[in-house]
Symmetry: C2
Subunit: 138 residues, 2 copies
């Protein structure tokens, strides 16, 4: 196998996608860097936006808050996290992230090992107890 290449992601070189769960700025993904190990993406969420309760069966995740305020769920625990704070989410653990502030929320989502992200998410937000949890928190 050929040696993999490094890549600088300046503003001009960064792939940006607008998805239902926020604007995504990609810094590592198998089809972008060829990494088998790392998915790294900055997500910008407007006030009121969020990423509902879900699990990644095969990937550990760290979410790091860059700016704004996040209502971060880790199973039935919830904390408001601000810039410089983070959460570690092991494989199979239910979690959700909502913008709980009045400004945009930007966070880095870091997942490993790398896989197709869309195929590595299982949503549970229509099931109890998750369906009622978010409602009771707001």
């Amino acid at each position: 196998m050929a040696k993999k290449e490094g890549q600088f992601f300046t503003k001009e070189k960064t792939k940006v996608e607008t998805l239902e769960r926020g604007i995504h700025h990609w810094f590592s993904r198998p089809d972008i860097t060829e990494s088998d190990d790392l998915i790294v993406v900055k997500v910008d969420l407007e006030p009121g936006g969020g990423h509902p309760f879900h699990i990644h069966p095969t990937m550990d995740e760290v979410i790091y808050i860059i700016s704004g305020q996040a209502e971060q769920w880790l199973e039935k625990d919830v904390k408001n996290l601000g810039p410089g704070e983070a959460v570690y989410i092991p494989k199979k653990m239910v979690h959700a992230t909502f913008n709980s502030g009045k400004e945009a929320l930007s966070f880095l989502a870091i997942l490993s090992p790398a896989a197709d992200l869309e195929g590595s998410m299982v949503y549970v937000d229509k099931e109890e107890p998750w369906k009622s949890l978010k409602k009771s928190a707001n």
Copy 2:
């Protein structure tokens, strides 16, 4: 094996260490989160500080700039990266990061798969061409 636990890293709960290569705020490391997959650490470097040329033989890395200005080397290429910019560094690729600004530089270093970080760094900064490269850049 018992199910691994999630962890919130609020400011009060984050382990901070002062190392020669900057102040380290740990969000994932095998002895902190038990993750086999992720090392995530925020590094604060004062002006003039840096992390000399080295490789990680077994780990891919992404460096994401949070604030300040970084002189980021990827083998013999160099770019100044600012907030919101990043670099992907595959296993075995020589790299270095220096604070090239007048304020503190903060970046997130993300490595995978997780291993003992100190045992997973091989410095080459005393060898050519790396020894002369940094000098010529300043």
